[in-house]
């Protein structure tokens, strides 16, 4: 049976067919109402569209993915470099003619055991140390 044959199928009379068409027909929407519906649809689809845009940037996303855990590692490495540089400054001047570090100067200085204890404890001030040196002499 073709569409054409069915169109001629006189099962419903004209009045009934009109009533049926009227019953089922969708309402006429104004241009503004269509725009409003389109806006609704597009607002609802903003997020899925954004997800799609995000998904097509695999290189940037991959970089970001690796960069995130790499940042603390990089910070730790930088800290290590800075620390080792400082240690080099403190201990690396052992070559002849080089300037000694503070700790080494303290150890090599001609001080008594009491002065040394004061110096190491950090409690001594300059006046106390001077008094101690004068009394020993």
């Amino acid at each position: 049976m073709t569409d054409h044959e069915l169109d001629r199928d006189p099962v419903l009379n004209t009045e009934e067919q009109q009533a049926l068409d009227s019953l089922l027909a969708e309402p006429e929407l104004s241009a503004g109402e269509w725009d409003s519906l389109r806006d609704r649809i597009e607002r609802a689809c903003e997020l899925p569209l954004a997800r799609r845009r995000q998904a097509i940037r695999p290189r940037r996303a991959a970089v970001a993915k690796w960069l995130r855990p790499a940042l603390p590692l990089a910070a730790a490495a930088l800290l290590l470099i800075v620390l080792s540089t400082q240690l080099d400054l403190g201990t690396g001047d052992r070559q002849p003619g080089g300037e000694l570090g503070v700790a080494e100067r303290t150890l090599l200085a001609d001080v008594s055991d009491a002065e040394f204890a004061q110096l190491v404890s950090g409690e001594a001030d300059a006046a106390a140390l001077l008094l101690m040196a004068v009394s020993e002499e």
């Binding site: 009045e15 089922l24 027909a25 309402p27 519906l37």
Partner: protein
């Protein structure tokens, strides 16, 4: 006509490819092009404007989420309308299960005389009852067949059945409606 159809298919496929990359302008074109058909299908199945509008919105979101499963060699419109129809049928079944009262949106037209309007309204009410008593598939086909933009092939694609089955079901549905109306007339004084 056939060339125009092929052009539309190719055009829609190109738009779908762009939408897959998240292009808003391409999506807007697809919405503008197919929103009215989607609304018509939703409304014809649901019979309520607000429900139909909500459903069209949901169907576009669902279509966007499943766009990667769309076969670019096929027509976009039947694919979209299938999503709309499936959701609308489910919504109608859910609504019927809840047995909520449906408010008829088709009030008698003000231009007709009161007697004619009442008669027309009664006929519509009888038709509505007769339509609701049809098997689910016949009912859906009957509702969609009245829409100008859809022929039996389109309806077949939307409902995933052969076009010949659509024509046969439509014929059976019309006969059943006619019989139901005759019974109603027979009961009238």
């Amino acid at each position: 006509m056939l060339e125009l159809q092929h052009a539309t298919v190719a055009d829609d496929s190109a738009l779908v490819q762009r939408v897959r990359r998240g292009e808003t302008a391409a999506f807007d074109t697809l919405v503008r092009r197919h929103m009215k058909s989607a609304f018509a299908v939703a409304y014809r199945i649901l019979g309520q404007r607000e429900d139909a509008e909500d459903l069209v919105q949901e169907a576009f979101v669902a279509a966007l989420e499943h766009l990667d499963t769309f076969d670019l060699g096929r027509e976009f419109r039947p694919w979209l309308l299938r999503i709309v129809a499936n959701r609308a049928i489910n919504a109608r079944q859910h609504r019927e299960r809840r047995r909520t009262e449906q408010i008829p949106e088709h009030a008698p037209a003000a231009t007709r005389s009161p007697a004619v309007a009442v008669e027309q309204h009664e006929l519509q009410e009888r038709l509505r009852i007769a339509l609701d008593s049809l098997p689910e598939r016949q009912q859906t086909i009957m509702r969609l067949a009245g829409y100008e933009g859809l022929n039996s092939t389109d309806i077949g694609e939307i409902l995933h059945i052969p076009a010949g089955t659509v024509r046969w079901e439509l014929h059976q549905a019309r006969r059943a409606l006619r019989a139901a109306l005759a019974v109603c007339r027979g009961r009238e004084p």
